[in-house]
Symmetry: D2
């Protein structure tokens, strides 16, 4: 059994981690910290966990996180970079669900996240936790930077095209739509039901923090070349789900369907759908699956890739558990076999 701790368990990625870990056959959940909620039972805050999680939140300073095998950070940005060093020194392995270790270029990170980085040397060590790209490195990593939700859906949709060099990487367009839980469990006006229900809007068109993360990942896939990407996120009136609609200009003919099927043939959590498919977000709801469809409308020179995930699972907590499984030598899919909830 793996001893697991969670730092910051009161947000949506936290409660989703709890849902998944409560069903994981090899996990012994030993501590969940929350400064604000210390002492209160987890199941009092999240009645969905009544009878399944008996832990109470503990104060960060009291939690014996150093005894854990793996600690997840489900904290706001800027926390893990301050606490990771001590845990690593104690021999604990870490999966950070926030953005602290995702961007290799420290200056770039500091520009987008608006703070100084507390542990640049750990950024260099950290492995970007997208198993479909970095599986082997993840197995041995001490510190995994779990990808963002938009970046997961977007990269999985673009990777086969960019790795194979068959599209114009200077004019990529990612039109991405997220459910409202992607905004976190924060008391902010624009996330209110009466604001975001029966409504649709773009936001952050001038620049969203996930843009540099996607650009970095696609740049690696392009062999280090700079990619030109227009990235427009939208807020969608649903709880969970990301739908990335991706556009790329063809520069070399390929059997694009076969390209995608080949690229993901061995992947347990990527499902390349048959031609002419339109994956809907509910087809992956509450599961760790990414479903992808490739289209070439009217046989023109523009490819359209549709890529859907559950932002809280493959886009956060599920991918974090997948990374933990890899780090601990478990079957990659252990505890992640939930069938999507439809309807």
């Amino acid at each position: 059994m793996i001893k697991v701790g969670i730092v910051g368990g009161t947000g949506y990625t936290g409660v989703e981690l709890l849902r998944l870990l409560a069903q994981h056959p090899q996990v012994n959940l030993t501590a969940i910290t929350s400064r604000g909620e210390a002492g209160s039972a987890v199941a009092d805050m999240f009645p969905s966990l009544r009878g399944r999680i008996s832990l109470a939140f503990s104060d960060p300073k009291d939690a014996a996180l150093g005894d854990c095998d793996v600690v997840f950070f489900a904290t706001p940005n800027g926390i893990a970079m301050q606490q990771a060093r001590a845990l690593l020194d104690a021999g604990v392995r870490i999966v950070d669900l926030a953005a602290d270790f995702r961007i290799k270029d420290i200056a770039e990170w500091e520009k987008w996240y608006g703070m100084s980085h507390a542990s640049p040397e750990l950024v260099a060590e950290a492995v970007y936790g997208l198993p479909e790209v970095n599986r082997e490195a993840i197995r041995t990593a001490r510190l995994v930077a779990n990808p963002g939700c938009y970046p997961t859906a977007t990269q999985l949709g673009f990777l086969p095209l960019i790795e194979s060099g068959c599209v114009d990487i200077e004019h990529l367009v990612a039109d991405v739509k997220s459910g409202v839980s992607g905004g976190g469990r924060k008391a902010e006006t624009h996330l209110l039901f009466a604001e975001s229900s029966d409504n649709f809007k773009a936001y952050g068109v001038a620049g969203h923090r996930h843009l540099p993360e996607v650009r970095q990942g696609l740049g690696f896939a392009a062999g280090g070349k700079q990619v030109g990407l227009t990235f427009v996120p939208h807020l969608t009136p649903m709880i969970r789900g990301i739908h990335a609609t991706l556009y790329a200009q063809i520069t070399r003919e390929e059997d694009f369907q076969a390209l995608f099927e080949r690229r993901y043939a061995e992947e347990p959590f990527v499902d390349v759908m048959p031609p002419r498919s339109h994956p809907d977000t509910r087809s992956v709801r509450a599961s760790n699956i990414c479903r992808i469809a490739v289209h070439r409308p009217q046989g023109g020179d523009t490819l359209v890739v549709l890529s859907v995930i559950d932002n809280l699972v493959k886009g956060a907590a599920g991918q974090a558990v997948q990374n933990m499984n890899l780090m601990c030598g478990l079957d990659e899919w252990l505890g992640l076999t939930q069938v999507p909830v439809l309807p």
Copy 2:
């Protein structure tokens, strides 16, 4: 392994059965019938099942249902009563998710369902599949009538009060609210998104088919006395979930909280919440749990009981699997340990 067949797998109770059975460790799903979809893969209709259910729908006349240990009917009302006899004769045990065998009074059934009953003798044999009432009878039943969704939530909320004889059974009120999936996967105008979203309404106030079913169950609990029940269903803009708000006049003082806790102390799927709780439907979403809270506003003479279930799980497919587990001597909770999906 239990060999299982499903008759009529294209509705919401059908796909939910498939979701649950795909994760059940002791089930070997051997056939799913659908006249309209015969030959097409189940996962083509429900992409959420891609990679998990490889069966195709088969024509009812070709399906070897007689070889099954258990057959579920997830059909419209009036089908199971025609086909059950032959299967029972072949030694198959049956769980009917429709209403064919729920009402003992044939005339009453025919009045509410608007057809002649094809197998009155099987109604007499059938066991009403509410395990919290009929657990022992279910274990040995050949034919189980799986309760309706409203009746499950309503009966579980009223039972402790009525069995203990501490309320006026002539003026019970059940104000019940259902998600739209309760209306089935039928192409009907009033179930359209643009009709039922951002909208709330009562329906069937003059009389709903679940009224006689609840009245029968509460009457049994009252030792055969007739109960007076006003039952008002409402359509709520959510996919899943039933919230029953139940009102009863106190006729004898009791520790009502203790009464409920005692009644359900051994029940694996009924959670009596602490005093002053307000269970929300999402706290049981996609799980087989019923959560109940008891209130006595302002210390007056009216009790308010709140009872929530997922209409497709404890209100349909989950309860059906619970019944199958009982019938087959398995642990009652096998395949039903999903943690509710929140948010």
Copy 3:
């Protein structure tokens, strides 16, 4: 033209007032105050008003409210009771959309609202602004206490029964459901989309502030007798709308349909629907109408009344404008003729 000011225009009742007043042919909107937003254009906060409202929010201390004919308070509870006296002394007439002047019993008010009342003498003077009850008094009132949303729907549904003395007033039940905008435009976790979408729950079962308000109104209708009312509010995943499902035991036979039709025959904003109707909330969306249907299920001794309003219109801003019209001698329906928005 009537010179109108609004104190506190940044909540949902505020923006709804602005929507209605922008279309009112006899209103000259001269000031909107907001301490937090002073100086910023109203249309910057609410783009729906671009091109229709050119005012900026002004600081309360700078606004020339004393020059207005009518001032609306769309503020949190406890503000109007502090500022009303000075405005009244300046000859301004007031409609308070908050609860400060609704409850005649000061001690009762202070118990439910948790503060001392700053102007008890104004409570005595204030007229409860339910035109269907107090039309003549409203015409000459200086200070109108605009009813709450639940109380409007509940009272309009119960009044004919109680005024005519044909039901048991000791065991009334009001099972009421509200859209999320009823919780206000406040950054609170439980009002988030990801919390309240696809979810349904009761709240405040032990006691809600609208209970004493309804009890007072029904008590007046009962000729001063005390009424026994169980009042259970629910949060419904829709933006706007209140649906009250009301239960009463018959004590004297009547033609109940005729009773309701007679009672509201002259009312411009109450629509008694034909027998067997089920009004849905969208049938009054964005309009000032209350639609009511009366049922007597199975000819028993329990009446069920369904009463729907838009909580922001007839339940708040629309009723406030209706009161203003009455106070200023205008046609009662002026500026309130919007056709409900369906779908």
Copy 4:
């Protein structure tokens, strides 16, 4: 007063026309036809119209449409092309809300709509009813082809760029999202609440009927040049609203904000928002307004235009009334001054 008839008033564009015409000061609504609903009161089908529309549906063969000044066709595709000739001969002017007269290339129309065209000669005569392009022609037209919902939002967003020749017209991308009412009031499974709520998906990526319509309009704007457009529609879990996210590569520098402001300076229903704006669909809900914002992310060579409308108003019934106003010499905005409903 203008005598108005409606053919086919039972869909969403029909009921929306009724909502708008009921409030129009110069309209005398004389007939609404529906074969299926002949004889039943309009307000029985749409209770939102109780007290506002007293007409009953009449059988098409009995309706005196020939006496009308203007007749709206709110019918499925393929009806108006059969009935328009006779009405025009009787001197009636027509606005067709369906697609029969939108595409000038008959073969193209027949390919996308799958039927032979019954009146090719009327296609030649018909004026495409986008007032921002064809205002003068509409004033004198006998037959107006009211634009589709996607085409309205998409064209208004692209037009300034294409007319001024500053973008690459061979690689335009329109990623468009529609509320579910855009699918019509049809009993189809994929439009059910339980299918389309809490879900998001693309559809028709291979080719949607609105693609040739947009391509035609943009081609006219480009002086007859062929445009290359990738057009991807998405189904969004909201009732009303279209959000078009448009991408174009810059080929010549411009002050793009000024370009848009200049282009629409005199337009009563197009609102160019300030730089850095993100219009949301609710900011135009239930109104005839199109709001547009122009972005140039990171100063790159890709422009992003956001364009939102209410699909049932500016995308259908509202634009139809706007066209009627122009045809009849009325103020263009008459009956269309509703303030958007927010929240």
